[in-house]
Symmetry: C2
Subunit: 268 residues, 2 copies
Amino acid sequence: MGELIFVGLGLFDENDVSLRGVEEAKNADVIFAEFYTGLLAGLSLRRLEKIVGKRIIVLRRRDLEDECGESILRAAENGRAVLLVPGDPLIATTHIDLRIRAEKRGIKTRIVHSASIVSAAMGLSGLQNYRFGKSVTIPFPVNGRVSRTPYDVIAENKRRDLHTLCFLDLDVEGGRYMRIREALKILLSLEDDIGGGILGLESLAVGISRAGAKDGIVKAGSIRELLGFNFGDPPHTLIIPSENLHFMEAEALSVLADAPKWVREMIK
Amino acid sequence: MGELIFVGLGLFDENDVSLRGVEEAKNADVIFAEFYTGLLAGLSLRRLEKIVGKRIIVLRRRDLEDECGESILRAAENGRAVLLVPGDPLIATTHIDLRIRAEKRGIKTRIVHSASIVSAAMGLSGLQNYRFGKSVTIPFPVNGRVSRTPYDVIAENKRRDLHTLCFLDLDVEGGRYMRIREALKILLSLEDDIGGGILGLESLAVGISRAGAKDGIVKAGSIRELLGFNFGDPPHTLIIPSENLHFMEAEALSVLADAPKWVREMIK
């Protein structure tokens, strides 16, 4: 009976995979990878192939979504297949769908976990994980129209005194990555339209770029300040904190994320 | 100037560390580890020392909390120190506190991320990450008294149609690990006391044991069913899903977590 092992590649480059992940890849009959559900900005396919000692077949979005991963499933029916994915596997719906299809065809599946932007962003910010509410993706505008979902999620979290982790849209195959500046402008335009009084130029935000890279940046400040701040290359992530901070959260933002002095006034 | 690098060990054993984490440990002047903020059930210190090629100094809770990590900070002032920690670093408050202290003393800090139970539990359950609300820890009763916080968090998440990720209390140094059964009993006793009509024996829950291990278990079912189910050794984690499920969530719980048939009826 075949086997399909999902192996997480973590956040930044080929060195973020775990020892267990490398071992699973070395023992595989065939190794696939997809690089479209997340951006591993420092990754080199050649170096990754050297680490696992095998050729890696790179799948595109259409292989997994239009063709439902048929090529992987066939390989996994006849042996041991590994699928390398950005971040921690099964956070993306595509992987859950593929795993269900595999199990239904009698293929055993396993997961090798890895770092995810979900916990990395919380940790890097110094904000406390149990104070985060529902997270949300800020999508690219479609035909000039902007989804109001991110605004509604932030508003609801703020009402409950919770932080919001915002994933920024990306289209890896098209080479488009939303930056913190664009995300903030989208949120401000929603505030203009909706007028809920949730966000303004003086609201606190925390921007994170290239989580997991040595040159990654974490910067807290007013939206006005972050609009003018250079976060460098993608991937970017954004946190909108609650209206109150705990003492240690304010301390962390000050010391670790260069927050302005007025952040101290947000202490609960 | 000195340096302190926090390296995540991931979820289960010494093979969950990333290649980057091993490299950082090999380049360190001194390596510390703490194993009390999370349980790495399969880890062997000897094997970990073999992997990094150096002796590892194991710190206890009192070294980090009562003495505020003074031994690490002194080592980091004079060279390159690595602190190995369970999971993804900086999810635990202790690490955030230590990082702030280090930076205030002019020690540069960096993070090597790793798998966290936060994203692993979401991924293993097949429930969608953006449908999780605030997470919560279910603490051990103190003098027979049970905190009502977990109940209130679950109730508020359910009102918003969100899932709740529940971390179960542990006292690694004392060898006490809360099991899914104990956590469910605590929740049921809170329901009895508070009477909010949020949870009962027929409510859906998802139990996860030994996330990241080959013999890890993910099982969805009624609380009644899970109370009688053998999840094996710790660590255990619990998810209380919202009252509605998306189609793919119900499918995932059925195929990947052996959910009973009535879970299909929860489709939104």
